[in-house]
Homo-oligomer: 236 residues x 2
Amino acid sequence: MYLGMTESDFPEIRRLHLFAEMGEDHFRALLRGSYVQNFPPQIELIEEGDPSDFLHVVLSGSVELFSTWNGRETSLATVRPVSTFILAATIRNAPYLMSARTLEKSRVALVPSQDVRAVFDIDAKFARAIVSELAQCYRTVIKNTKDLKLRTSLERLANYLLRQQRRANGAMEFDLTLEKRRLASFLGMTPENLSRAFKGLQAYGVRVAGNRISITDQMDLEKFAKSSPLIDDYQT
Amino acid sequence: MYLGMTESDFPEIRRLHLFAEMGEDHFRALLRGSYVQNFPPQIELIEEGDPSDFLHVVLSGSVELFSTWNGRETSLATVRPVSTFILAATIRNAPYLMSARTLEKSRVALVPSQDVRAVFDIDAKFARAIVSELAQCYRTVIKNTKDLKLRTSLERLANYLLRQQRRANGAMEFDLTLEKRRLASFLGMTPENLSRAFKGLQAYGVRVAGNRISITDQMDLEKFAKSSPLIDDYQT
DNA sequence: ATCGATGGTTGACTTTTGTCAAACTACTAA
DNA sequence: TTAGTAGTTTGACAAAAGTCAACCATCGAT
């Protein structure tokens, strides 16, 4: 079923690590079975427990991965263009472990899981890329767990801010890319507590005005945060 | 370097999902570069941050994966025979994110990471197995994160006990396989709190005597724990 | 400009969790 | 057997985090 995948989407997807090195024919074969859809904000794309029929690629907008249990909900990640999500479920042909919803108007490509598995078996470069991507995802989650288990909420926030600052090329001022209540959930605390944590970081040179963060004492914040590449580096 | 890998170790390793389907010649090539060592208890095999030179395979005994930051330490997993650990670091050729220490006298096979990567590129079955294993590891960590973020410590303990009970084929009585302080750390709490959590579960039909757990009211415990396959099932 | 809705913040309070010190237990080694 | 050690438990207390209700700010629509 072909629903609006335009040629202009190809290069963007192709540029992803996951698809960059694979054979052109295999790439086209993958996309032939795929389709693209536009979603309004706050649409649930996936519910945890569903069978994993598609590998998803966010082309524009943003998607939140979250999970619920016993009436509680927690935010696990935010996916921004251009990247894939729920690769592991696709590979294992197992039910999704996380739900996904659009945060804003988003364009998402859906690649049939069975095609991904089929091409994996015939394209070594693609196989290599998938393994590499999965290993990276795994390591990211491990870092996340260490962050959660080894740090207090104040330390988690401090380190989060320093990571965001790095994403903003080290600027002294930058905007939060997440709603605060989602940030709170991602960091494993309540919105009320996040509010208090921001106030607690004032003592270490952090100013907050709405979504705008100012680091007024870089040294002090870094000294408090004690960032470690084995937790806070997303590259390695 | 060949240090005591005996032919008798081969079949056990071969039986692992990871190595079960690969070509015999490739399997032998992998093991040719490997060696086996016996370690006493409490030996640190790996320190987080080290370069990932070897894929490790626990042949006997048990190994704890843990991490430290700022003087704190947390237990992330226990590896029991026969299984591998730190596959992701091996694949990405990136530094280990976790430290590893033997809990008891243990026999560990060390397979050079570069050999793993080399064989991955020429053996499609092995590649498939690695991806499958990595995807499973990833999903396990995600489940763990959900457990940590969505549940209170009492709920985490209740679900842990039910999982252990299932491992014991549903017996009403079974032994903890972990020291309590390690269990506490794994579940994200202090030993003191674990003690109190056990007392808290008395109300739901849990009896504790040393390492021995008795489930005296299965229904009640299950009703409290609200286990979910999307968190507590290690298979899917 | 006003209203309403949503998200954010604040304060008072409760619950949960961690900390510290002491007591207790099981196990090991002399 | 006994002493010593490491692990566990307990109680008193402190700190951290969650809850609830009220209030404030922002934004969009009428």
